[in-house]
């Protein structure tokens, strides 16, 4: 886990690390990755990955409208919106 890797994953996660915390976070990430590395020596031949403890198939439902539009309620939580849209900085020049 070097500085370059930390910079790459930080960008992928859209996070910016404060300069004075970068060193500590890099050290922490390295010790966590070393800690979980013991899994790599595990013999997992013929073991199917388990994604969900119930191993259920997602249930299907009728494709129907289940609730009324609540546009105003949802827009009201936005940091910036008008009557119809969430507002963000200009994307297209």
């Amino acid at each position: 886990m070097d500085n370059k890797t930390v910079e790459t994953i930080s960008y992928l996660a859209r996070l910016e690390l404060e300069k004075d915390k970068k060193e500590k976070i890099t050290k922490d990430l390295e010790s966590i990755i070393n800690f979980v590395a013991e899994l790599q020596d595990l013999n997992t031949e013929d073991i199917a990955p388990l994604a969900n403890p119930l191993e259920k198939v997602a249930p299907k439902r009728e494709d129907s409208v289940t609730s009324k539009s609540r546009k105003a309620a949802f827009l009201s939580n936005s940091p910036e919106s008008d009557q119809d849209y969430f507002i963000v900085p200009k994307v297209v020049e």
Binding site: T5, V6, I9, S10, L12, A13, R14, L15, E16, L17, E18, K21, I25, D28, L29, S31, I32, I33, F35, V36, A37, E38, L39, Q40, L42, T44, I47, A48, P49, L50, A51, N52, P53, L54, K56, A58, P59, R61, R70, A73, F74, S76, N77, S78, P79, E80, F86, V88, P89, K90, V91
Partner: protein, 483 residues
């Protein structure tokens, strides 16, 4: 009449006999909260709660929990009541809907007095990662209450409320229940709806309850658990009455002790309490069997791949656009995402997002994430095999009693090992609970009972019989001036 430390069932009886009104109960609750030193609550809802109490007193509300004040962990969405998840990024978030669990408890007539403090996005075992400050353990204000549901556990332990909700992704109900000397249960994955629970690791997250004893936990689960078509992993089995089997005889029942958990490495008092608890169950006619679970030692590393991976995906929704914190003075959309997330999330959340991003990134996916999913199946198989031999599995809930605030914040691995005994049940998805069973260094410690899939009734039965034959659950902290 002092309501502090009364159980849910006791308060229910007082209300039924009209020896106290719900208004008195709720007013007294807010009075107690105002003098509390534990920082258990992030947001209170006094006006609404008092109105609901009045409605109950006027005979307008009924239900199994009618008129009883309870607390909701601040991870559950509550309609028109701020829900922060312990994070700055949701400091001003007011959900337009109730989580299913919250709706179920309201439908039973209970009154939510407020939202309890927690580790940010439930990531932590000490409640120190909350943006709203650490919660303090009522048994010793210099110590942590455990986490992540630390506020709920401390509020019940301190007698502010008789019951509270929690969520458990790796031990977040059982470890704080143990450290605060109360009872807490996490049902089978899928038993309680996750709809309206702010997601951390979706294949591990499960809602549950805190109360003063197992009987009250059974009563709460009757309402917390339900089938919900809005949660695709919700179990559709018929709902049972968890109070029906708590008085079953334990004669001839088999309790498994995990061979690979080295109890002898723990401190003397933790070992002695464990032996003492074994003797109580033996006196009740249960037998002990050693079960080998060779893969259980992989639980903590497996969890710290699976949980951060799911967290990095779930928390990508926080981008400063539709709700939550938005950074000021940004030039473009990408900067808006980066600045909002970087200013809105705390250090532990960032650490876990970064680990998750790393283990899911191209070139590392097979070596970490796929491998962890495979070891997860091996751990699950260990539980399936063990439960073919025994009725329940017993272990300590945590390696030690509550530690000092600040003592484990420097080393993340040391903090992660707090959940050594609890994490495996989440990976397998089985139900588990913690009950108080002794003291170490003058602070409470817990006994963990793990059950087979959908056998919440069974562990509640063991816990209730234990509590009928012990008095640890009656112990309460000395609150000094704040009481």
């Amino acid at each position: 009449m002092s309501i502090r430390f009364k159980t849910l069932s006791e308060l229910k009886e007082l209300l039924e006999k009209k020896e106290i009104s719900s208004y008195e109960l709720v007013s007294e609750t807010f009075k107690n909260i105002s003098t509390s030193k534990t920082n258990s609550f992030i947001t209170l809802d006094e006006k609404v709660a008092l109105n609901k109490a009045r409605d109950f007193d006027e005979g307008k509300v009924d239900g199994d929990l009618a008129g009883i004040p309870i607390a909701q962990k601040d991870l559950f969405c509550t309609k028109d009541l701020r829900t922060t998840c312990g994070s700055k990024i949701l400091e001003n978030f007011i959900p337009p809907y109730d989580a299913t669990v919250v709706g179920n408890l309201s439908a039973a007539g209970s009154i939510c007095v407020g939202k309890t403090n927690m580790d940010e996005f439930a990531m932590g075992s000490s409640n120190e990662t909350s943006y709203y400050g650490s919660v303090r353990n009522p048994w010793d204000l210099e110590r942590v209450p455990g986490g992540s549901s630390g506020g709920s556990a401390a509020a019940v332990s301190e007698g502010l409320v008789c019951a509270a909700t929690g969520t458990d992704t790796g031990g977040s109900i059982r470890q704080p229940a143990a450290l605060c000397g109360i009872t807490g249960i996490k049902p089978t994955y899928g038993r309680a709806s996750r709809w309206g629970m702010i997601a951390f690791a979706s294949s591990l997250d499960q809602a549950g309850a805190f109360a003063r004893n197992a009987e009250d936990c059974a009563l709460l689960l009757n309402h917390i658990c339900s089938h919900d078509s809005k949660d695709s992993t919700s179990i559709s089995d018929e709902r049972e009455n968890y109070l029906d089997n708590i008085n079953n005889d334990l004669k001839g029942k088999k309790i498994g002790i995990i061979k690979e958990f080295d109890i002898s490495s723990l401190n003397r008092e933790v070992q002695d309490s464990f032996e003492q608890s074994k003797r109580i169950f033996e006196a009740l006619g249960a037998n002990f069997v050693e079960v080998s679970m060779p893969n259980i030692k992989l639980s903590v590393p497996t969890y710290y791949v699976v949980a951060p991976a799911e967290c990095s995906s779930n928390l990508s929704r926080f981008d400063g656009v539709k709700y939550g914190y938005r950074a000021k003075d940004v030039d473009n959309l990408e900067e808006l995402y980066i600045k909002s997330r970087s200013e809105g999330f705390g250090d532990e959340v960032k650490r876990r997002i970064l680990i998750g991003t790393y283990v899911l990134s191209a070139g590392f996916y097979d070596a970490y994430y796929k491998k962890a999913q495979q070891s997860r199946r091996m751990i699950k198989n260990d539980f399936v095999n063990a439960f073919s031999e025994v009725d329940v599995i017993m272990s300590p809930s945590s390696p030690s009693s509550a530690f000092k605030i600040g003592s484990k914040t420097e080393d993340p691995i040391e903090m992660y090992l707090e959940d050594l005994f609890t994490i495996s049940s989440n990976l397998a998805g089985v139900p588990a609970m913690s009950i108080p069973h002794g003291f170490s260094d003058g602070l409470p410690i817990g006994l963990q009972l793990i059950g087979n899939y959908l056998e919440e009734s069974n562990i509640l039965n063991f816990a209730h019989q234990y509590q009928k034959n012990s008095d640890w659950h009656f112990k309460t902290p000395d609150l000094g001036e704040s009481s």
